[in-house]
Every structure is written in C-alpha cells, then in structure tokens.
Amino acid sequence: MSKYGMLIDETRCTGCRGCQVACKQWNDLPGEQTRNRGTYTNPPALSAKTWNLIQYTEVETNGRAGFYFLKHACMHCEKPACASVCPVGALYKTTEGPVVYDDTKCIGCRYCMTACPFSIPTFEWGKGLLDQALIRKCNFCIDRVSNGLTPACAKTCPSKAITFGERDKLIAQGEAQIRKYPDKYVNRVYGKDEVGGTSILYLSAIPFDQLGLPRVGTTPVTALSEQVMEYTLPFAGAWAATLAGLAILFRLRNRGAQHAADDVHKEKSA
C-alpha cells in the first residue's frame, strides 16, 4: 500500500489551472506554443513539457449548463503497469506512493506508454536523434514529498480541491464526504479500486467517464502486462543494449533545465 496519495474533489475545483502552472514552475518545464481550438483545455494533451493538465467539460442537462474540470496527471497506480513493462526498471513504485522514473536507466522503448491504462507517460518527441529522448510524466513531486513538503499542485490549489495525505485516510475522508453530501457526489471514490487502486483519488459530481476518467475495471493491468512481457523481453533486451550504448555517448549534455522554463517560445522570439 502506498503511504501517500492525493484526494481531488472536482466539485471544489474551479478550473483556475494554478496546479497546471505550479507543476511547470516547480519542474522547470517550458510553455508550449498553442492555439485556441474552441476549448479552454490547453495544451491539447499531456506531453513531455506538460505533466498536469486541466481538462474542461461542458455539458447541458435539461437545458442547464454544466462546466466541469478534471485535473489530469499520473494516477500513481498501486500496481503500475508502466513499471511492470519497463525492461530496465527505470520506472518503479516508491514506498511513499509515487511512481517515479530514473532518467539514467531509461532506454526510450516507450512500452510504458502503451501499457498505461490512463495514457499518461509521454515521450520527448521533439528531441533530435542523437539527444537521448526520455519518458516524461508527473513524479508526484517526489523530491518535495520525501522532504516533508506537499506536492506543488496540492500546495497551490486556492479552492482546496487537492488534499495531500495518507492514502487510506484520504479514502476514508472521501467516503465521509460522500455520506455527508450524498446528493452532490457520485457514490464512489475513483481510484480506491481502479486497476487495483491508485494513489490519486477523485470525487466528482458527474459520472467519472463524463469527466474524462476512463472505465478501467478493478484488475491491475500488471496482471496482463507481465504475461506480455514474457514474450517481448528478449527483444527488449537487445534494443536496450543498443540504446543504452548510445545514451552513454550522448547523455551528459547540459540540458539547462533551470532556465529552460523562462525561455519564450522559440518561434516567437526568433
């Protein structure tokens, strides 16, 4: 069992995106160049530069408008499929709860991306052939959490929609909230049982799938992925050796992450 989790009460969220920008700020991620495509959701999807995304849903029921928000980021599964398919052990579940990722081990095979039931891990597609492109996703601010601080998203939330704490207590808290306001919530804490349980837990006023959370069942995806890996592992091993060799040659480029976040969009400043 994970020690920590986050309970996200989407009925308290106002879609301000403080968490989306706080994530970029703490993790030194740059802004992406975007267009307005007829929605507030921007960038369009999670990417190597965007690990936490507010997704906006507008619905109409009986002629009345509804406006709902989903904080979309890694769920930090109890039994993470991404970790189970990773041929080199770059992704792993920590005892604190976060599913984290080791840059120095990743070979860029992208199995994790296909395995994840929530389509979370993203790839640094923009990187050149000889730069080591890596997998990127929310790491639950593991450095903050393991140093006694709250994750950046949870700390910044003005409407107190995100509660960071011990996972079992958060489940109890979420269920108590549902009992207190049965008319306000869907009668279930999403993530309590999904794919065997996740560290990130949700409360919602509308069905979770309408909000954008997939129906994934309660069976851990690892049960399936481990079977698949039995067949793919030999191939992966060879691929791993090749990529690891390249990585050693080109790894130690200074990525200057700290100030990358402050650069303007390249296209515009040029």
Binding site: C16, R17, D143, N147, K155
Partner: protein, 190 residues
C-alpha cells in the same frame, strides 16, 4: 526641512526592531539523500502583483538574483500558501527575455527605436514638460466675474497604473498636481 538619510530615519524610528521572519517552509535545497530537492524553496516573502487579493509569495533566486522558484507563503493569512496561475508565473515576469533593459527613444516619423541613456531621456522629457506646461498654463479663470487662481497645466496628462506601489502613486500625484496637471487618471477609471 532637513534631509534625512536612511540611518537617521532608523534613529527616528528606533522602536522598530527585528528582521522579517522567514517562513518556516523556507529551507535550503537538499534534504532527503535519495530524492534531494532539485532546487531551493525560497526565502524572500513578497506579495503577488496581479489581482487585489494580496496573496503572499515566497521567492527563491540564484546567485544573480534571478528567480528560480515561486510558491505561496504559508504564513500569509489571505492565501495560506495557495496561488493561482498568474501568481506562480511571476517567475517568467521577472526573467522574461522580452523585458525592457534600456531606455528607448522613437523620433517623430521614425520607423525604429534607438537606445538612449537615462540622463539624456530625463533632460529631454523635462524640457518637453516645461515647454508644454509654459505654453498651455492657465493661471486664472473667471467665476462669477471674479478671477480665481486655478494653476492648471492643461496641455499634458498623466495616467498611472494600479499595480504601482503606494509610494510610487503618492510621488506621482504629488509631482503632477504640483506641476498643475488636471488630466490625471489611472486604471481605476477603466
């Protein structure tokens, strides 16, 4: 009136003591060995420049004074550590490559800016202010057949922002009214 230096001022306000208490969350980078903090949290407590809530910010800077981290000040009773997207983005406000670095001047009909010095600009602006003021100054107006002194410089205007500090606004209002400016407005009107 004698001019006070800051030191004399401290003597005047001798009862003022103690330094800004650093927020408890402020701590140096480092900590847990397995997952050390990849940067420091910050130690400079300030207030957000956007809306009027007045949220507290904690700022961390590098050796050059450039901001490397921004988060909410947990001691500030208004926001208790929370921040919206604009407040957090102040890091890019301070570090933006688009920020103006030098005095720029655009001559009549010119298609380009040219870089100038502060001394040059201030002297030139003062000359423009004087010329306009002297040409358009209204000393008196007739009210019920009596000359009433009105001391108005009607030929130029000042518009001040609503994100400036109180002290900036105070100096602006003091200087402009002394010059006789009546077209004195700012964002509160809009």
């Amino acid at each position: 009136m004698p001019q006070l230096t800051r030191r004399q001022f401290f003597q005047v306000t001798a009862a003022v003591s103690g330094s800004l208490l650093l927020p408890s969350a402020a701590q140096a980078a480092g900590g847990d060995k397995k997952f050390p903090l990849h940067k420091k949290i910050g130690e400079g407590a300030t207030i957000c420049p956007y809306c009027s809530c007045g949220c507290g910010l904690i700022i961390a800077t590098d050796e050059q004074g450039h901001i490397v981290n921004v988060e909410g000040d947990p001691e500030n009773p208004i926001n208790r550590g929370a921040l919206d997207p604009k407040s957090i983005a102040v890091r890019q406000l301070s570090n933006s490559p688009l920020r103006l670095k030098n005095v720029m001047y655009r001559a009549p009909g010119a298609t380009q800016w040219e870089e100038k010095s502060w001394d040059w600009a201030m002297e030139e602006i003062a000359k423009r202010v004087k010329k306009t003021r002297d040409e358009t100054f209204v000393r008196t107006v007739k009210v019920a057949d009596k000359d009433v002194p009105v001391n108005r410089a009607e030929g130029f205007a000042f518009i001040g922002g609503a994100a400036n500090n109180n002290e900036d606004c105070y100096l602006a209002t003091k200087l402009m009214r002394t010059l006789g400016v009546v077209y004195l407005e700012h964002q509160a009107r809009l």
